[in-house]
């Protein structure tokens, strides 16, 4: 570590078209677009740290019922069967679709859960001023890497489609798992809207 300089960037390059501009100074809630390609280059989210902590905690609590409790149950000839997120993956594995089972568990359980954990740790590190900890930068990088691999919304539409497919053939019942799954999904979407990694990057100090 030599001289540390302020990490507030002076110049910004558009990610989509490589257009250069002065780093825009925004108020919370404002966004800036690239002049050339209209891509949203910066968006300062309102109160990102506190909101992320609240949402991540709520999401982590809801994750347990959302994953393990039955989402819905079906009744046919007085035989009852249920499905939960975890039992769907187990069923895929038992059907010898190992690849699909692994991919689904990654997209719908591992990616969202690690996202919640990482944002919680990062937000606390900023809140408690522990950003010099060696895990800070790797965690932001990890967050960005898994960000696009989380597909809870898609799974939610999948639940809707299967409801419609079965509704004529059998009696369907919805359990508490569905409610917690929907809330879990809302947490993940809200986290996407409140967590601000640009802000976290700007706290990293630079040795010149």
């Amino acid at each position: 570590m030599t001289v540390t300089l302020s990490s507030q960037p002076k110049v910004l390059a558009c990610r989509e078209c490589d257009n250069l501009m002065y780093y825009p100074l925004l108020q919370e809630g404002q966004q800036a677009r690239c002049k050339r390609c209209r891509h949203v280059i910066l968006y300062r989210k309102p109160n990102p740290i506190d909101r992320s902590i609240a949402i991540a905690l709520a999401g982590l609590i809801l994750a347990i019922p959302a994953i393990f409790l039955p989402i819905m149950s079906m009744k046919l000839f007085s035989i009852n069967s249920t499905v939960s997120l975890s039992s769907a993956i187990v069923a895929l594995w038992q059907n010898q679709l190992y690849f699909v089972a692994l991919v689904t568990s990654f997209f719908c359980i591992l990616a969202p859960l690690s996202k919640l954990f990482v944002t919680l740790i990062l937000s606390f590190q900023v809140k408690l001023d522990r950003i010099h900890h060696q895990s800070y930068v790797p965690l932001i990088k990890f967050y960005q890497r898994i960000d696009s691999w989380e597909m809870l919304e898609v799974f939610m539409i999948g639940i809707l489609v299967s409801i419609f497919k079965l509704r004529d053939d059998a009696d369907l019942f919805f359990d508490f798992g569905l409610v917690s799954y929907i809330l879990f999904m809302i947490c993940i979407v809200a986290l996407k809207l409140s967590f601000d990694n640009e802000l976290l990057w700007n706290k990293v100090e630079i040795d010149d």
Binding site: K10, A13, M74, V83, A88, W201
Partner: protein
């Protein structure tokens, strides 16, 4: 640190010998032929993703190849008293259409057939437009690329439906849903096309002739 006064803002980052980090978006100086690293996060720095054109083309061709087994093999079989016929994605959608579930059939059809097809064709078109010419403005093509990236995960819809049905519908020997090989092929295709889209570099669209500033 770079000096903003020394930058010609009418030119892009590459022409100013700068590169913005793909990870943290910090702008650092870039010297061609050297192993450049980002000043802030120390990740490897590139001005354009290396071999983006070739990688995207290769992965798009791979997803075209996977597109056929994904749509021709049955993704699941509904067994009634041990008998039943496999359903491919298209025959499953057709069945829902005929049974009056038009809105839900449309969602499935768009998510699992139109999106992957549009994604593959769109990427091929973008690649073509880099090498040759295009009637669409660069701004429109950048928009197009953004949507291609956005739609990617939605194609997993049918795979998740299979996962749910396989687990839920198991009423002894009366009614059972068994997953088919099409589901694996479909998952492979979706993931390949997500990789194809993410290996593309939209900056290439803006690197062509400077005269058509649309």
């Amino acid at each position: 640190m770079i000096n903003p006064d020394a930058i010609d803002f009418s030119k892009n980052g590459q022409q100013n010998h700068l590169a913005s980090c793909d990870t943290c978006h910090w702008v650092s100086p870039y010297i061609v032929g050297q192993n450049n690293r980002c000043q802030r996060c120390h990740d490897a720095l590139v001005q354009r993703k290396p071999f983006a054109f070739q990688k995207t083309l290769a992965l798009t061709i791979c997803s075209v190849i996977a597109f056929f087994p994904a749509n021709l093999y049955p993704i699941m079989t509904i067994l009634q008293f041990g008998k039943g016929q496999g359903d491919t994605i298209l025959s499953g959608t057709l069945y829902m259409f005929q049974n009056g579930m038009v809105p839900i059939a449309l969602i499935v059809f768009i998510a699992s057939f139109i999106f992957p097809l549009a994604k593959i064709l769109g990427l091929l078109y973008l690649l073509y437009s880099i090498r040759y010419s295009s009637k669409l403005s660069r701004r429109k093509r950048t928009h197009m690329y953004r949507y291609i990236e956005l739609f990617g995960p939605w194609s997993m819809l049918d795979v998740f439906v299979v996962a749910l049905l396989v687990s839920l519908v198991e009423i002894g020997n009366v009614l059972e849903v068994v997953a088919g090989p099409g589901a694996t092929a479909f998952g492979v295709m979706v993931i390949l096309s997500i990789f194809a889209a993410s290996s593309f570099d939209s900056k290439l669209l803006w690197d062509e002739r400077v005269d058509d500033e649309r």
